[in-house]
Symmetry: C2
DNA sequence: GAGAATGTGTAGAACGTTCTACGGCAAGAT
DNA sequence: ATCTTGCCGTAGAACGTTCTACACATTCTC
């Protein structure tokens, strides 16, 4: 009455039973008669009782899963969230997102905060931290990592198959008749391993080798400007490439601008492909050929793995989601 | 020792004081000697103690603020988040985001979940719910609403000044010499009031009237396709407009495509302006004139108001953030 | 030097759950 | 009749905090 909140005791009083009985009904625990069920459920409905998650936290579960986001601007992050919430929609679990920022320090602060709030499990999206820090978190709470290649024994991992994605692009371009295909990647300052852009570049190299072609990787940055600068350099060469595969769509947009400025028409003079299939790639005015990661599947998989782990699985799982190539207007046969 | 978690009792034992004393130090409460301070702080550091938020929740604050997101795809939502977290960065508050979805039902479920987790306050971004539902939430917890015009006594509100934004666009176009300026707005199915697109349309009408010009509003939808269709209809008229102001950038992109297809060059034959200043508007290849809302300021303001309200302010505040016009390449003088 | 005022620390009762341990009862086994 | 065996329900101790009430020193005031 004080705080206006309906507690388990209010329900118990109304139904004329003990709080323990109400708790059992709420949790669906063993040892409740049908009659008791009905009585308690009715009282719950009449009073509009909802369990107080914070109080639950002190004893058992909170039914709260945390998702640590390293970068809220990540273009497919909404898809991942949708995948997670979609998967969890009909369970009792609630999802809360934690903006961790790009700094290792702020990310650590966020994961700590999530642990302090007794979340039942954590999904970390592209976390920037050492393996030791990751292990410390995984020791405290079930963890699934998304977007970081190379798993570990103490947590599950879900990644896009970036090697396959790069191969899809190369195969497509080679199939169109291209032989001089350049790749623009992101220049890494950090010493981290297994970041998606590195794996994409590796995948590109492997695929080119498989076709008996020479690879040509230029590292700038995954920004519109980075793509522009990279393309300008590539297009100024004597034997300029007939196709440019940018490791990220945002860079591919810069490549398109460079082509415009160089007076090259796309795709006749230059084919361009990106990665991530961000929203604007599908706009008719852009129509960018790109690799789609299906964030929904990634998110749904991560959610499934996390719940499994919370419910007892200890063997660790690494799941790789296959990307698909979305062919649009920026790729075509080279002009001979 | 059981759960591995360091509790306030562990700290108390280590420092040789009572748990109440440790609690005082942690909370910075009154009645602690310097000596006690030092002893306790040292013990805290040695043991790596962090207060258990869920346990705190049962008595006092959780130092957790919830942000209910109605649409994770909202283009300036990352800016708002940054504004919020930036403002709160040096406080003890932690921010958690709740993906509420676009359905009233799922949004209600999320706000309930946040209340159940004893969050200290809630920021609701463009919530879709009745005033009564909103009032019920505001009765349970301090609330700040973002992006919904027309506040109420029980919560604070932060909105973009959409009337001003629309006026900025009209003034700019009129200043360039345009007189036939059309506006594309979003067709509303819901009976909700004060939604941004309605206010923008009103602002457009007011500004046109102020210049003695006839208004011309077409309602399609805020999608690329909606902008395209709307523009096609407008451009097919006998006396076609020389400028189109779309109520959202995404629709403006559709307008640009329609202009392309109609063989009209922008801005010579047609000026185009949008609203929201989404990321791609600044890409050189698009270079869309748009109204910028400064999500950071909006977010920071919301965070400030929420903390004030949590700390005791009861009088309700409605804050209006002034937008700015970003003039780029899609607007220019009309061809005579 | 008595009483008041101030400053510092502690005991212990909440907060709303979960869950172990146990009591009572009815039905079946002996 | 007595003993098991299940089943159903309850009492009550946690969980880790906060915070009121109070005890005890010390210092101030007259």
């Amino acid at each position: 009455m004080t705080s206006g909140r309906v507690t388990i005791a209010d329900v118990a009083r109304r139904a004329g039973v003990s709080t323990a009985a109400v708790s059992k009904v709420v949790r669906g625990a063993y040892g409740v008669s049908a009659e008791m069920q009905a009585k308690v459920r009715q009282a719950i409905d009449e009073l509009g009782y909802r369990p107080h998650a914070a109080a639950r936290a002190l004893r058992g579960r909170t039914y709260t899963l945390g998702v640590m986001l390293s970068d809220t601007r990540n273009p497919f992050f909404p898809d991942i969230i949708e995948g997670i919430t979609g998967r969890l929609g009909d369970t009792e679990y609630q999802v809360l997102l934690g903006p961790g920022g790009i700094e290792p320090k702020t990310q650590a602060r966020m994961t700590d905060a999530m642990i302090d709030r007794s979340m039942d499990g954590l999904i970390l999206i592209s976390p920037v931290m050492t393996d030791a820090e990751l292990a410390a978190i995984a020791a405290a709470v079930p963890v699934v990592v998304v977007g970081r290649h190379g798993g570990a024994a103490d947590h599950d991992a879900v990644v896009d198959d970036d090697v396959m994605g790069a191969r899809l692009v190369v195969d497509h371009l080679v199939g169109l008749g291209h032989t001089r295909i350049a790749h623009i990647t992101h220049l890494e300052r950090a010493r981290a391993q297994g970041l998606p852009h590195m794996v994409r570049a590796d995948g590109y190299r492997q695929a080119m080798r498989a076709h008996g072609l020479a690879d040509d990787v230029l590292a700038t940055s995954f920004t519109e400007e980075g793509g522009f600068e990279g393309a300008r350099e590539l297009l100024a060469r004597d034997h300029r490439p007939t196709a440019i595969f940018a490791g990220a769509d945002i860079a591919a947009l810069g490549v398109l601008r460079a082509a415009d400025e160089a007076g090259l028409s796309v795709p006749e003079d230059l084919s361009v492909a990106g990665y991530d299939n961000i929203g604007i790639a599908s706009l008719k005015r852009i129509s960018l050929t790109s690799v789609d990661q299906d964030g929904r599947v990634i998110g749904a998989t991560a959610a499934r793995l996390l719940v499994e782990r919370i419910e007892g699985r200890t063997r660790s799982v690494a799941s790789s989601v296959s990307p698909t190539l979305i062919v649009r207007g920026t790729t075509g046969p080279p002009r001979l």
